[in-house]
């Protein structure tokens, strides 16, 4: 257990370092192999998964060879080191059409690394100037979404970084538009910038309401926005460019101040757009991409063969997240992306719309019958 605590502290120290430059591969390798040994020894379903592939701490020499678990596996087993009953919290993927029994579950034994990782990364990419701002949150508060990892994270952000008056503007009935508009109107006349946090779908809802009312706000300089997720559940999806343009028109936010976050229930770490952090460093980034923090490695793999692809080719994202110390570090996602020099771009989910065949809607339909 002493070794474990030391490993945890080493990862925590790494998370404490600046976001750039990236970590040396040797250092990541050493930590990743230690995490793999810990998970192989203590996470029984994961151990079986590795053994069936003849990958053990003795045979794996490089972090790249550590078996990555597809996210769908989280729907079937408690992928945690030790007893699942000892988990501090279980985060669940949103229900959607799959029904409760099919939701992915991330058992988190110890929230400390999660919190350190989430706050550090958020600060580096959304508050790189050290600003302390009032947070306007367009997501369900934790009492209404106790198993949502996004809500958990946003609450931590509110507590740690939010100035007085930070609040939530979504409840079971949806967006609380009247108080939200009042809040935005009051802020407009003041000088205190805001940070708006929430789901892309909620922001789109807000934008459509503003468009309908022909209402344009000009939020104080330094205001910013973090949005996450797709436009799920929304009647329509719009291209990202158009979305940011609308945010500019209706809220007065520059595109550099609109930061997309990409996170997943199965991971303790998240990814953020580079734009605001670079802006704070005095640059005008021409490209928007997701920054991989030093305690994570991301690969883009061929969807069919799962072999690692060179930069510039479209494939499926695979992450190695040291902050997932007590669950599974190596995660095979179903998100399409493309690797760049200093991060990656995300292109959407790799499942769904492009499927052919007679039974596209069948699974959904059958699940609804049960």
């Amino acid at each position: 257990m002493e070794g474990y605590e030391q490993l945890r502290l080493e990862i925590e120290t790494l998370i404490g370092r600046p976001i750039r430059p990236p970590i040396e591969d040797d250092k990541f390798q050493q930590l990743a192999l230690s995490v793999f040994r810990h998970q192989f020894e203590n996470n029984l379903p994961y151990r079986r998964y590795c053994e069936r592939r003849d990958r053990t701490p003795d045979s794996v020499q490089r972090w790249r060879d550590i078996p990555a678990v597809p996210t769908a596996a989280f729907k079937e087993a408690a992928l945690i080191c030790g007893d699942p009953a000892e988990a501090e919290i279980v985060f669940r993927t949103s229900g959607t059409s799959q029904g409760p029994e099919r939701r992915g579950q991330h058992y988190v034994r110890d929230l400390r690394l999660y919190e350190t990782s989430a706050l550090k990364n958020f600060q580096a990419h959304v508050l790189p100037d050290g600003a302390r701002l009032r947070a306007i949150i367009l997501a369900l508060p934790d009492r209404l979404a106790p198993d949502s990892s996004l809500t958990w994270m946003l609450e931590k952000v509110r507590v740690h970084f939010g100035a007085a008056g930070s609040d939530y503007f979504v409840d079971q009935a949806g967006l609380r538009l009247v108080p939200l508009l009042a809040e935005l109107a009051a802020s407009e006349t003041g000088e205190r910038p805001l940070v708006l946090l929430g789901t892309a779908a909620a922001f789109l809802h807000l934008l459509e309401a503003l468009k309908q009312r022909n209402r344009r706000f000009s939020l104080p300089a330094g205001s910013r926005l973090m949005e996450t997720g797709g436009f799920k559940g929304q009647g329509r999806a719009i291209p990202r460019d158009e979305f940011y343009e609308m945010l500019g028109v209706h809220l007065g936010l520059s595109q550099f101040y609109c930061v997309a976050e990409y996170g997943m229930t199965e991971m303790c770490s998240q990814f953020y757009d580079n734009v605001l952090r670079e802006r704070a460093l005095g640059r005008s980034p021409e490209q928007r991409y997701k920054v991989v923090p030093p305690w994570v490695q991301t690969q883009v793999v061929d969807a069919e063969t799962l072999e690692v692809l060179p930069a510039g080719q479209v494939g499926v994202l695979r992450h190695f997240d040291l902050a997932n110390l007590d669950s599974v570090m190596a995660i095979q996602t179903d998100d399409l992306g493309i690797a760049g020099a200093d991060g990656f771009e995300i292109l959407g989910r790799a499942t769904g719309s492009e499927l052919r065949g007679c039974s596209i809607a069948m699974d959904q339909w059958l699940t609804a019958q049960r």
Binding site: P45, Y49, R52, V69, P70, T71, A72, A73, K75, E76, A77, L79, A303, E304, T305, L306, E307, V314, G315, V316, Q332, D334, L336, L347, G348, R349, A350, T351, G352, S353, E354, L355, R356, G357, C358, S359, I360, A361, M362, D363, W365, L366, Q369, R370
Partner: protein, 472 residues
């Protein structure tokens, strides 16, 4: 990259339409189809030109088809069917050369499909089908005496509008052929997933029987072009649509009252193996049969099996049987390679394999790719396969347990392949029929329905026609 069907600029484009009445006066644009981004010219149709075209098509249909006997029509169709099946014919060559890039299926799969599907378009197969439903062909040519007194004659719709789906090449041609057999002119709207076979059929028919081919029109427009569809449906006597539940539902709502509507929505298949058949002599053939049912058209058809229920207690266990299936799938993946995969399709299979494995299933699968997967577990539920050669083997105590699982699928159940004793088969057929299955076949024959099958449980020809009774 993600959008398979975008605009292109290429002068070597294929002609993705058959609109003889508009020859020389048609505005077209180029568009890329299929995983190979095959450039194809498609018409720019306005509601006005479409209406004119359909009115002209109905006029041609009245003139031409009234003068033809059904037998003559069958002969012309058979001539084209022969060319499609013949590996020495340029038409066959063109289809084998173009359909893989347009549909994603391998060349070998397309070649097998052409051979098997064209068997249903011979004069004999069509004549037997018509006779099976009407008793005699003559009732489509002239008034015939009825046994009960008086006379009757069957008339096809003045115009049949077909909305095709793209999953199985050839289904569009069968649909056009059936309408011609009942002397109905047809307008076919092709799907982005397979926009070309019906066009080639009509063009080839024109080389042999120009007049008959003028009773066909085939074109493409993007799905959901409701202004054009409103025109097409209002001119139609019958509308036949193939597609997802969602698109069938949407079309059904827009077909005017009085216009006959036949919808073919999503359907799935399964297989049942009784323990008595699982002795070591028979299982090799059965395993190969299941593998073939999975390989043919990469499970994209409504007849393809998703789940195989294996009764426990036979000489060969479910796992051993699954291993045999895996061996055959591996061999067949060389003879008939699987089609091209989108990243989403591959990803879905990798995810599903891992999910099943962690759940405790035994996963036998190709490596490192997703060419084939056999997932074996003790589980009753019918889960839809992600297709593309993923078959789920489920050991059950009694086949009756499987029937309970299939009852959930109900009216969505299309084909059930069965290996059982005669006695068991009789009982199972009754129960499956009551649940909703529309076709029960021996293992290995799921992919190739008889030319006379009741597609979705319906008549092939009878549902299209209207009878006129003559009392004297």
């Amino acid at each position: 990259m993600l959008d398979r069907n975008g605009p292109v600029a290429d002068s070597a484009a294929l002609d993705g339409f058959w609109l003889p009445s508009l020859a020389g006066q048609l505005e077209t644009r180029d568009r890329a189809f299929g995983p190979d981004h095959v450039p194809m010219r498609v018409p720019v149709l306005t509601p006005h030109t479409l209406r004119e075209l359909l009115v002209e098509l109905k006029r041609t249909g009245r003139e031409v088809l009234a003068t033809r006997s059904v037998r003559e029509i069958l002969t012309s169709i058979e001539n084209v069917a022969g060319r499609i099946a013949s590996s020495k014919d340029l038409l066959h060559d063109e289809l084998v050369a173009t359909l893989p890039g347009l549909t994603g299926y391998s060349e070998q799969m397309i070649a097998v499909g052409l051979e098997r599907m064209s068997e249903g378009w011979t004069a004999r197969a069509l004549r037997e089908g018509l006779e099976g439903e009407f008793g005699a062909l003559d009732v489509l040519d002239a008034f015939q005496a009825r046994q009960t007194g008086g006379y009757q004659r069957a008339f096809g719709p003045e115009l049949t509008v077909h909305i095709f789906s793209g999953n199985i090449p050839g289904v569009a041609v069968s649909s056009l052929v059936r309408s011609l057999c009942v002397k109905s002119p047809s307008f076919g709207k092709t799907a982005a997933g397979e926009p070309y076979f019906a066009v080639c059929f009509a063009r080839a028919l024109a080389e042999d029987d120009e007049e008959l081919a003028r009773c066909l029109a085939v074109s493409y427009w993007p799905g959901g072009s409701e202004d054009l569809e409103a025109i097409a449906f209002s001119e139609a006597g019958a509308v036949i649509a193939y597609g997802s539940d969602e698109s069938i539902g949407s079309i059904a709502c827009r077909v005017p009252p009085g216009v006959r509507f036949l919808g073919y929505p999503n359907r799935v298949g399964a297989a049942l193996l009784a323990r008595g058949m699982l002795n070591s002599e028979a299982t090799g053939e059965l395993a190969r049969g299941i593998a073939l049912d999975v390989v043919n058209f990469d499970q994209q058809g409504c007849v393809s099996p998703h789940v195989v229920y294996v009764e426990r207690g036979g000489q060969v266990s479910a796992l051993e049987f699954a291993q045999q299936i895996a061996t055959h799938l591996d061999e067949l993946s060389r003879d008939i390679p699987r089609g091209m995969m989108s990243p989403g399709e591959s990803t879905l299979i990798h995810q599903l394999r891992a999910q099943a494995e962690v759940r405790g299933a035994t996963v036998l699968a190709s490596q490192p790719g997703t060419e084939w997967s056999v997932i074996v577990e003790e589980r009753l539920e019918f889960d839809a396969s992600p297709l593309n050669r993923v078959i789920q083997i489920r050991a059950v105590e009694r086949l009756g347990d499987a029937l309970a699982a299939l009852a959930v699928v109900g009216r969505r159940l299309q084909t059930v392949a069965i290996a059982a004793t005669e006695r068991e088969l009789e009982t199972l057929a009754v129960e499956l029929g009551a649940i909703g299955a529309t076709r029960i076949v021996p293992v290995g024959q799921a992919a190739w329905p008889s030319p006379h099958w009741h597609h979705d449980g319906r008549f092939q020809f009878m549902d299209l026609v209207r009878f006129t009774d003559l009392e004297r």
